[in-house]
């Protein structure tokens, strides 16, 4: 334990990775001694008596090795890594007050500090009339509510906590993509939901005014949609926004109705709501339309604001849908009898939820660490059962390591494991590109996919691996896509198309059901 030693959580994660890369150890974690970190260390068998005594301002170095000499070497290496001074620039400050004094006209604060400290720091920002973007997780629910109430009182946005991305006037906060400017606003209780919506709009030749991430819990009944409603007010008053898309993971129906009613009563603009996984079929009105997937939301909002682009995009998506259905039919014939199941390994929680909703319509219940049904709930590290989808962005995977959008190593490990399972018929993955993401991901995935297919091939199995790549042309080049295709991956332009195609490889639904699914999730009529 290092008393009173602090590095930010991303630095700690990167140091842990570097330590593990050096080899000679079985497991390791370098973390601050918060209660939450200590609980997780205990679950991973990495908490010692000394670690238990660490306080919130102390750093714990926890290492498991096969023998004492390896442990000694690993500890020395960890000490050396921690003693390296982080890079500093002339824009660095040691405290918030001096940064604010030195920087005139600050409008936004971005916070990525341990959750229990967010209230203390964010309150100061709100007092100074700054909009706040909070990437941190584990912010106590009461703190989130108090901060959002204070932000609304001061006419501010409080984006988060656990906000993956926001794009304000073309500037990306957190993760996010280079998106053309346009007249569509996005509100998302979901980081990757915003990323897929904005990149698909860009792909269709459209663009966005702003994308406001409100944090994954905003539409819970406790938080009561405070920031979703504030973001609606902001975009209603924004002259550059003509239509608004609201994207969320599954929400309580009362909360959904509350937000929709507010829009119906006071909106001057057009809306598309996409509550992923909502099984209720809602009737469109003049002001409000509903969509069941991100791809169909994008088409529906284009239909409202840009008819020519809508028509061109619909034709494109229709062609892609028909080609994928044909492709799935052909592919299913190459599988052997035992290859019955789909496995999904996701970095994006919303993309995992969306795939789950689609696949359950075709294949029946799916096991997942996101499942609310205890019969089908798996811990992420449990072995897969039948059809299984795992969200690697869940807390159990993110202790002392970067989010899977930054670090794909856990998913790649699991990909190899699934490739060895003879009951697997198809594997689906997402690859998120953009700010904050290393270019290495393309190479790492290409290599891993090729190895996974080779492993299955040695056991005389064909192994289809599908990949949804979320990014724009500035982030993913044609040669990147070629490299992924050369590895054997089938690359899709939307997550919904990938999931639907995977389902069709394993089961051929009745023509009527297939037509309904294409309409609901892809926004196209395949007749």
């Amino acid at each position: 334990m290092k008393k009173g030693f602090f590095r930010d959580s991303v630095q700690m994660m990167l140091l842990t990775q570097e330590l593990k890369r050096d080899g000679g150890l079985m497991d390791a974690a370098i973390v601050m001694g918060t209660t939450l970190n200590k609980d997780t260390l205990m679950r991973c068998g990495l908490l010692t008596h000394e670690g238990e005594k660490a306080g919130e301002s102390d750093t714990i170095i926890s290492i498991t090795c096969a023998d004492q000499p390896s442990l000694k070497t690993a500890l020395e290496r960890a000490e050396a890594l921690l003693s390296r001074n982080p890079e500093q620039t002339k824009s660095d400050f040691s405290n918030v007050e001096s940064a604010l004094n030195a920087s005139r006209g600050t409008t936004v604060a971005t916070l990525s500090i341990p959750g229990q400290f967010v209230k203390e720091v964010a309150s100061k920002m709100i007092e100074k009339n700054l909009h706040v973007f909070v990437f941190s997780d584990h912010v106590p629910l009461k703190d989130e509510i108090d901060l959002k109430v204070a932000a609304v009182k001061n006419n501010l946005l409080f984006m988060g906590p656990e906000a993956g991305t926001s794009i304000i006037n073309g500037t990306v906060l957190g993760f996010g993509n280079l998106i053309r400017k346009g007249n569509i606003g996005i509100i998302g209780a979901s980081g990757t939901g915003i990323q897929e919506s904005s990149t698909l709009l860009h792909l269709c030749g459209s663009g966005i005014s702003h994308a406001i991430g409100v944090g994954g819990r905003d539409m819970n009944k406790e938080v009561n949609g405070i920031m979703t409603l504030q973001a609606i007010t902001a975009l209603e008053e924004d002259q550059n926004t003509n239509a608004i898309m609201v994207v969320s993971k599954p929400v309580d129906s009362k909360m959904r109705d509350k937000i929709v009613n507010v829009v119906m009563k006071r909106s001057m603009k057009k809306y598309v709501f996409c509550f992923i996984g909502d099984s209720e079929r809602l009737e469109d009105t003049k002001e409000v339309r509903y969509a069941r997937s991100i791809q169909s939301s994008v088409l529906r909002i284009l239909e409202l604001v840009d008819k020519p682009r809508f028509e061109a995009s619909r034709r494109r998506f229709e062609r892609e849908a028909k080609a994928s259905i044909g492709f799935a039919n052909n592919l299913s014939e190459t599988l052997i009898t035992r290859q019955n199941y789909v496995r999904g390994l996701f970095a994006g929680g919303t993309l995992c939820y969306e795939s789950k909703a689609i696949l359950e319509e075709i294949l029946g219940p799916v096991f997942s660490n996101l499942s609310a049904n205890s019969r089908f709930h798996l811990q992420g590290r449990d072995e897969s059962r039948k059809n299984t989808l795992i969200d690697f962005g869940e807390g159990e995977f993110t202790l002392a390591r970067p989010h899977p959008i930054i670090d794909p190593s856990f998913r790649i490990e699991r990909l190899m494991q699934e490739a060895r399972d003879p009951s697997v018929g198809v594997i689906i993955l997402d690859l998120i590109a953009g700010y904050g993401v290393s270019k290495d991901s393309i190479e790492l995935f290409s290599r891993a996919i090729s190895e996974a297919i080779e492993t299955a091939g040695k056991a005389n199995r064909t192994l289809p691996i599908f990949l949804y790549v979320c990014g724009t042309e500035g982030e993913i080049s044609p040669s990147d896509i070629d490299s992924l295709r050369d590895s054997g991956a089938q690359v899709f332009t939307s997550n919904a198309l990938m999931a639907l195609t995977a389902g069709l490889v394993l089961r051929k639904p009745h023509r009527h059901l297939l037509r309904r699914l294409a309409n609901d999730y892809l926004g196209v009529d395949i007749k």
Partner: protein
């Protein structure tokens, strides 16, 4: 409620997000944030007694 026209960012915590802001040519400063060190309970009591 007005969405800011100009982005001037103060980044507190992970440097990766400061780098993202700078790479987009946004005005930004970075705070090398650390938690406030909490005094041990007995030391706090001593300081209280001596009026610290």
């Amino acid at each position: 409620m007005k969405i800011p026209d100009r982005m001037v960012i103060v980044n507190v915590g992970a440097r990766i997000f400061y780098d993202t802001a700078i790479s987009q040519k946004a005005d930004a400063v970075h705070v090398n944030w650390r938690p406030t060190i909490k005094l041990e309970k007995d030391l706090e009591a001593i300081l209280r007694r001596i009026g610290g």
